[in-house]
């Protein structure tokens, strides 16, 4: 047997399960062509096997714990005291003709929200809405030296009735305040900030197209602007928010699955660190790794941790796995909030929703690459997907791990759970169903 033949045989042997699956599928397709289409039609006509309930059972979600503000924080800002400086017609930016010019985060709306904090002036100052303009700061500003910065990502959706809604803003506010505490930045009243945001959204509401599936990305940011070089809490800070129009609805390309690079030599977060806070300093080190993934023809990075190569996050998203467990039942699993994981709001919503459905087991536990490989070999791995605000769910179909390609059958399932989840969440977000998670502003 020549070396070439040996290598080929090795390849076949390694990927035998994938090959078997592929052949099985082809056979199924060939013989049951008509049957499959009939089945598909039947699926569409039959009622969905879950109900979008108009309420959430509180035992499945935890209301975020109230934030404890510092004793010497000072004055809190109130939305009712807001000053507004509207943009003049000359300052307005023209709206692009079509989606191709949009991208993500390249274009911004006409106005922004700014709230200053100065301990020497008593605390939080009056909120103001101003035309979108550059920030001016001292070159010693802490944010520029020590990345004293945190941000949030939320979306405003124009619903089927034309009203604008935001999804669970209280969760983002809580997350922001926790991150502020860790960075020595001042905390604030989430409710007041959401009201200020609502005013900003109503002023720039025409930046959300009138189609049924259009959204505006909201980026609240908190930075330390104290003009001193000491590594200490900021006595001055700026809380601001800008808005960016995003592509109106999914085109066939972006709905596709992603391929990942899983390289254990890179670590995104570690115990005792700030992997569980949405701080800018977590993201800068990932840019080069993403570049490497792209160079290898892969789209995102799968962040592993520890000797046992635990799967933690995908790019900037949380990760979920749907598989058949040792008891033979279907199970949805995601890593627990052990300090390495960003507590995603989409993640929390999915956990609450799926627990309420009760159709399969839902568990928060760590899982490792060896586990994934083993499940894949036994054909027990059904779906693997990332979750986040930007695209709700992002199915994964390939992982490049230690030089090997693992092919995940996420897109090959007949009734994929990730599609069900995506549809339910978007129905809530776009107001197709009345739900307390989707707050109407306008």
């Amino acid at each position: 047997m020549t070396t070439k033949m040996a290598i080929n045989a090795k390849d076949i042997f390694r990927n035998q399960h994938r090959l078997i699956r592929f052949i099985e599928q082809s056979i199924r397709l060939c013989s049951n062509q008509s049957l499959k289409t009939a089945q598909q039609q039947q699926q569409k006509a039959s009622t969905p096997d879950f109900e979008i309930t108009a309420s959430v059972n509180t035992q499945y979600t935890h209301a975020p714990e109230p934030i404890k503000h510092d004793k010497d924080l000072g004055h809190m800002f109130k939305a009712s005291q807001m000053a507004v400086r509207l943009a003049t017609p000359q300052q307005l930016q023209p709206k692009p003709d079509n989606d191709e010019e949009l991208g993500f985060g390249k274009l911004f709306t006409d106005h922004m929200l700014k709230i200053y904090y100065h301990k020497s002036l008593g605390g939080w100052q009056k909120p103001e809405i101003t035309p979108l303009e550059n920030l001016v700061m001292h070159p010693a500003a802490k944010v520029l030296h020590y990345a004293v910065e945190l941000f949030e990502g939320m979306k405003a959706y124009r619903g089927v009735d034309g009203k604008i809604r935001i999804f669970r803003p209280d969760m983002n506010m809580n997350r922001m305040n926790l991150a502020a505490q860790r960075s020595g930045l001042p905390t604030f009243e989430g409710k007041e900030f959401v009201q200020c945001l609502s005013r900003l959204l109503s002023i720039d509401s025409e930046w959300v197209p009138h189609t049924e599936a259009a959204s505006l990305y909201i980026r609240p940011t908190l930075i330390g602007i104290d003009p001193t070089l000491g590594v200490a809490s900021s006595d001055s800070a700026l809380l601001y928010s800008i808005l960016s129009p995003v592509g109106s609805y999914f085109k066939t390309g972006s709905n596709g699955a992603v391929s990942l690079l899983a390289d254990p030599s890179y670590t995104r977060a570690w115990p005792g660190g700030v992997g569980n806070r949405k701080m800018g300093s977590n993201y800068a080190p990932t840019i080069n790794v993403q570049k490497e993934a792209a160079a290898r023809g892969l789209q995102q990075v799968l962040w592993l941790y520890g000797e046992d190569h635990q799967l933690t996050e995908v790019g900037t998203m949380n990760i979920f796995m749907f598989y058949v467990n040792d008891q033979g039942e279907q199970e949805l699993i995601t890593p627990p909030l052990n300090g390495l994981i960003l507590p995603g709001i989409t993640r929390d919503s999915i956990l609450a929703m799926t627990r309420q459905w009760g159709k399969f087991k839902v568990r928060e536990a760590t899982f490792t690459m060896p586990m994934v490989s083993e499940l894949l070999n036994q054909g027990r791995l059904l779906e693997l997907f990332g979750t986040g605000t930007a695209c709700v769910v992002s199915p994964i179909n390939r992982i490049n791990y230690l030089g090997q390609d693992l092919y995940i059958p996420t897109m090959e399932q007949e009734k994929p759970v990730h599609e069900l989840i995506r549809e339910t969440l978007t129905d809530i977000q776009y107001g197709k169903v009345d739900h307390p998670w989707s707050v109407v502003i306008d």
Binding site: A83, L86, P89, Q90, I203, P209, S248, E423, D434
Partner: protein, 419 residues
């Protein structure tokens, strides 16, 4: 999620029939012209009781009274105002945008002023006859677009020196005087120009018109639009609004010609961008229902200026509206029935022999072409391939030229033959 991007009224009705609605489903807001169709879905539903909610299919009369009650419950301070500035300068696109907002936007708590300017065009009223207002063939030759708007009134010439303002409100809060006063106040505040509103709702300065008005009232929305002549090209204006010399017998709305003037004739500093700003700010700083200036405190509470891009991506369904506005069937085809008469002198020895040409035009097409022979009352139909074709001045002149070739001897023969 359905692949339909926008649910217009007919799609909504279809969905209703298919029973797709669950009890918690939210319906799209839909506006209708003043017809009381009981199958209409005319209101938006939401879980919170905001001031402009009404019941769904509970019967239209109940709906409208409920709506009235809900609307009157809205305080002046609850209404926020926006000024939309159209990014397009195409008359058809802007007409489509105006129509889209009229049909789809919810103005309950949100009054809108739409400001737009067009490249050179002539716009006639809904029920007008373009041939009595302008020389349609010559407009086409000179690249001036002809358009028909949805509101009544007379013909106007637009170019970039003319600013159009459309004031949108719910039907119950329609107030023309309020809107026109916003304009006169803006002119005074910005340039100390004094102007009056005459009994025909024109804005005049020393008896010369600077603005004309038209409106459309429907359910639940209404709009009032007016022009403001800042620096229009008066020469082109005069040349465009001249009809072909012929006797038009038509029952369409005729324009009332008035002497006009540009604001720039009154004050050299007037220009369209500044005018846009001035009218917009005046609109925003005035209270919503009373003509009271609230200054910068009132201004701060409003939603301000916004550019709008009238494309399908931002306003789904607008392409269809634009196609309808630019179609021949709408611009020319909607012309009410009329006839044209022209007397022709024939060549030949007997000068003084006049032939009267009469063309009947229905829906823009020449339905009957006939000539009246001299010294006779009879109308003789003319057989020509032009029958059934579109009427325009060029075709008319074509027929006239063909008839002029006819010599008097031929006519004599025809006359003798018919006796």
């Amino acid at each position: 999620m359905s692949l339909l991007l926008r649910r217009n009224s007919s799609q909504l009705r279809l969905l209703q029939r298919l029973g797709a609605a669950t009890t918690a489903e939210v319906r799209r807001f839909v506006s209708r012209d003043s017809d009381n169709d009981s199958n209409n879905v005319t209101a938006a539903q939401s879980s919170t009781t905001t001031a402009n909610t009404a019941g769904t299919t509970a019967g239209n009369k109940l709906q409208s009274t409920k709506r009235l009650n809900n609307l009157s419950a809205v305080a002046d301070t609850d209404i926020k105002k926006s000024v939309f500035i159209s990014q397009s300068h195409d008359i058809f696109t802007n007409l489509a945008l105006e129509d889209w907002l009229y049909k789809n936007f919810d103005f309950g708590n949100h009054h809108v002023l739409l400001l737009w300017a067009n490249d050179p065009c002539v716009v006639i009223g809904r029920h007008q006859n373009p041939f009595t207002e302008a020389n349609v063939s010559r407009l086409m030759e000179r690249g001036i677009t002809l358009a028909r708007r949805n509101s009544g009134g007379g013909a106007v010439y637009h170019d970039r020196g003319n600013l159009n303002c459309t004031f949108f409100t719910p039907r119950e809060r329609y107030n023309r005087k309020y809107n026109l006063n916003i304009v006169t106040r803006a002119l005074f505040r910005e340039w100390a120009i004094k102007s009056e509103i005459n009994e025909r709702d024109d804005i005049v300065i020393k008896n010369k018109k600077i603005s004309g008005t038209a409106a459309k009232l429907g359910r639940p929305n209404a709009y009032h639009h007016c022009t403001i002549l800042a620096s229009a090209n008066k020469l082109h204006l005069g040349e465009s609004l001249v009809k072909e010399p012929a006797n038009y017998i038509s029952r369409a709305t005729a324009s009332v010609p008035s002497p006009i003037r540009n604001l720039v004739d009154v004050n050299r500093n007037v220009n369209v961008p500044q005018l846009l700003s001035a009218v917009g700010y005046e609109y925003l700083r005035t209270a919503a229902m009373a003509l009271e200036d609230g200054g910068s405190t009132q201004l701060m509470k409003q939603r301000g200026f916004q550019l709008v891009n009238p494309t399908e991506r931002w306003f789904p369904g607008i392409e269809e509206l634009r196609a309808s506005y630019s179609s021949w069937d709408w611009v020319i085809g909607k012309t009410p029935k009329f006839s044209v008469e022209k007397e022709l002198e024939l060549k030949g020895d007997n000068s003084g022999m006049k032939l009267k040409l009469s063309v009947d035009v229905e829906a823009g097409l020449m339905s009957k072409i006939a000539i009246q022979l001299p010294q006779s009352d009879q109308m003789v139909p003319v057989v020509t391939p032009l029958q059934g074709k579109a009427y325009n001045e060029q075709n008319l002149n074509g027929i006239i030229d063909a008839l002029k070739m006819v010599s008097t001897s031929n006519v004599q023969q025809a006359m003798n033959g018919s006796i």
